[in-house]
């Protein structure tokens, strides 16, 4: 496939695939865990082929936003449109079938499955996912350890596995929650290279990230969250001039 060839040759253009079509639109999203009101009207949109970040301090509601999109929290109100479909009333298991891959913050590697079983676990949601060979080419460590118990892998390998298994399903919109958390710099760099390759394949990515230095060169736009709302949107072009403002928002 030409896309695969392109991924391997690796052109490093930051914005190759925007066609302006809307992949995800979240409007006035409120979310509740039992009695506690976590999200207070979140609004943002992601275009096809874009990589956006959700930045903010701990507890700002970034992970909850991703979980709300997957219908993994309690009650939600507002609107979540995926590829033009309203998903607020959908059952949780229907949402990934719209072509969404979710990588949870705790990685969710299954201890009772070996690496390859973990990799093959999520059902295919579209026909054009990466093949097992392509995935092993992208993550050679996983091939070497494919018979190991999933949770015996190092933190970095577990993160690679958590990413790899949603690439196999054919998902085109990836929701990635804190994928660099607690990992060594060399692994973080490798994950950055993976994200670049995924962008080149035309994937749309929402990245929840603490490590702004990791996210900054990858993203097209940044959304800053606080107290369950989006309080600021900063495009990659605006970033150099607004860096200090952003730092003060994030408290770094």
């Amino acid at each position: 496939m030409s896309q695969a060839a392109e991924a391997i040759s690796g052109t490093r253009d930051a914005h190759p695939h925007h066609d302006g079509a809307e992949m995800l639109r979240v409007s006035d999203l409120h979310a509740f865990y039992g009695e506690s009101h976590i999200l207070h009207g979140v609004d943002f949109d992601v275009k096809r082929g874009e990589l956006v970040t959700l930045l903010g301090r701990n507890g700002a509601g970034r992970s909850t936003t991703l979980k709300s999109i997957m219908n993994m929290v309690g009650r939600r109100t507002g609107s979540i449109m995926i590829n033009g479909n309203e998903t607020l009333g959908m059952k949780p298991h229907r949402i990934p079938r719209l072509g969404i891959g979710y990588c949870p913050e705790e990685r969710g590697i299954f201890a009772s499955l070996d690496v390859e079983e973990n990799l093959l676990l999520p059902p295919t949601v579209r026909s054009d996912g990466m093949s097992l060979d392509e995935i092993y080419a992208m993550f050679p460590n996983l091939y070497e350890r494919r018979r190991s118990q999933g949770t015996r892998l190092s933190g970095g390998e577990q993160q690679m596995l958590a990413m790899a298994r949603i690439l196999r399903t054919g998902a085109r919109l990836l929701l990635l929650d804190e994928i660099t958390e607690g990992l060594a710099p060399v692994i973080v760099q490798a994950l950055g290279e993976v994200l670049v390759k995924l962008k080149e394949r035309g994937m749309t990515i929402v990245l929840v990230e603490q490590n702004f230095r990791f996210a900054a060169p990858l993203a097209d736009r940044h959304f800053v969250m606080e107290h369950g709302r989006i309080i600021e949107e900063i495009s990659a072009a605006e970033l150099p001039s607004r860096r200090e403002h952003l730092n003060s928002l994030l408290g770094v």
Binding site: M72, R94, Y102, F110, E117, P123
Partner: protein, 295 residues
């Protein structure tokens, strides 16, 4: 005559065989309990009632519909398993979000309802189910006399247990089950219909119990109370093996049957209590059970 520790070989082997047969039933029932507990986290106190229903449906099917033994082995688990799926879908699911203790109490109540209803119609004395003609009689193996039906029960139980183990440990469906046991919310986020998986799992566990019930029908009196007396022992087996361990349930079931059989040979007075003694010892030394993971 050959003697083993002062007991004739034939007697010794005969008791061992009886023990293994009991063990096969312990294994089948604790396997179903383990499968259900794994995904639903419910201690299914209705399991004995489902085993009893298996035997009863086979008996009533034979008397009223002419359903023969071999057809019953296939049809009865489907019928009772279907009943199990209805119970899960319309009763257990409503309390799934509550503490698991409620599931235990509810299934216990269901067991009493099934048992009481059948006692009302059929009494407690029990009826006998004829041994299928093809499995009548026995063989003299030289060292022991083997009733063919008992050999068949052992074989059938082992095949079903190993088949279940294979499906759970080696297939994609089994991987869904194991993963759903660990983190069902994430499985939904991957697009797996977990509520449906839960219904099927409960139905399958119940079908295993019903299968055991059909196997038991020609061996034991078919009575409404046949399940509750067995279930107490099966729970002890599950505690010994460790909650939720598939292979642990099978091995422990067979082993406890053997231990019970051996006790019958050497100290018959303790035969009914030996499993509980083992349970107490295991709980003191290894609270998670022999095959369970320490929390």
């Amino acid at each position: 005559m050959t003697m083993i520790f002062g007991v004739p070989l034939m007697v010794f082997m005969g008791q061992l065989m009886l023990g293994l047969i009991n063990g096969a039933f312990y294994a089948l029932l604790s396997l179903g309990l383990a499968v259900i507990f794994g995904l639903l986290k419910i201690v299914n106190f209705a399991h004995g009632a489902m085993y009893m229903l298996g035997a009863f449906v086979a008996l009533l099917g034979l008397q009223h519909l002419g359903l023969n033994y071999w057809a019953a082995l296939l049809v009865v688990p489907l019928v009772v398993g279907g009943l199990g799926m209805l119970i899960e879908r319309f009763i257990l699911r409503r309390i799934a979000h509550l503490d698991h203790l409620y599931g235990l109490l509810l299934t216990f109540g269901l067991a009493l309802i099934f048992e009481g209803t059948l006692i009302n119609f059929f009494g407690v004395s029990g009826s006998s189910y004829p041994t299928p003609a093809a499995l009548e009689g026995g063989m003299n193996l030289g060292f022991m006399f083997l009733p063919i039906y008992r050999g068949w029960v052992l074989l059938a139980a082992l095949v079903v247990c190993l088949g279940t183990w294979f499906v759970i440990e080696r297939t994609r469906l089994g991987a869904y089950l194991r993963a759903g046991t660990e983190n069902s919310a994430l499985m939904q986020a991957f697009g797996v219909n977990v509520p449906q998986l839960i219904t099927l799992t409960y139905g399958f566990g119940v079908a295993l119990a019903a299968f055991a019930g059909v196997l038991a029908a020609p061996l034991y009196p078919v009575s409404p109370t046949m399940g509750s007396s067995l279930l107490i022992v099966v729970f002890a087996v599950v505690v010994i093996g460790g909650m939720g361990s598939i292979i642990g349930a099978v091995i422990t079931g067979l082993a406890m049957g053997l231990i019970e059989g051996l006790t019958k040979v050497y100290y018959p007075e303790a035969a009914n209590t030996v499993i509980f003694v083992v349970m107490v010892v295991v709980l003191m030394l290894r609270p998670a059970g022999l095959f369970g993971k320490e929390a």
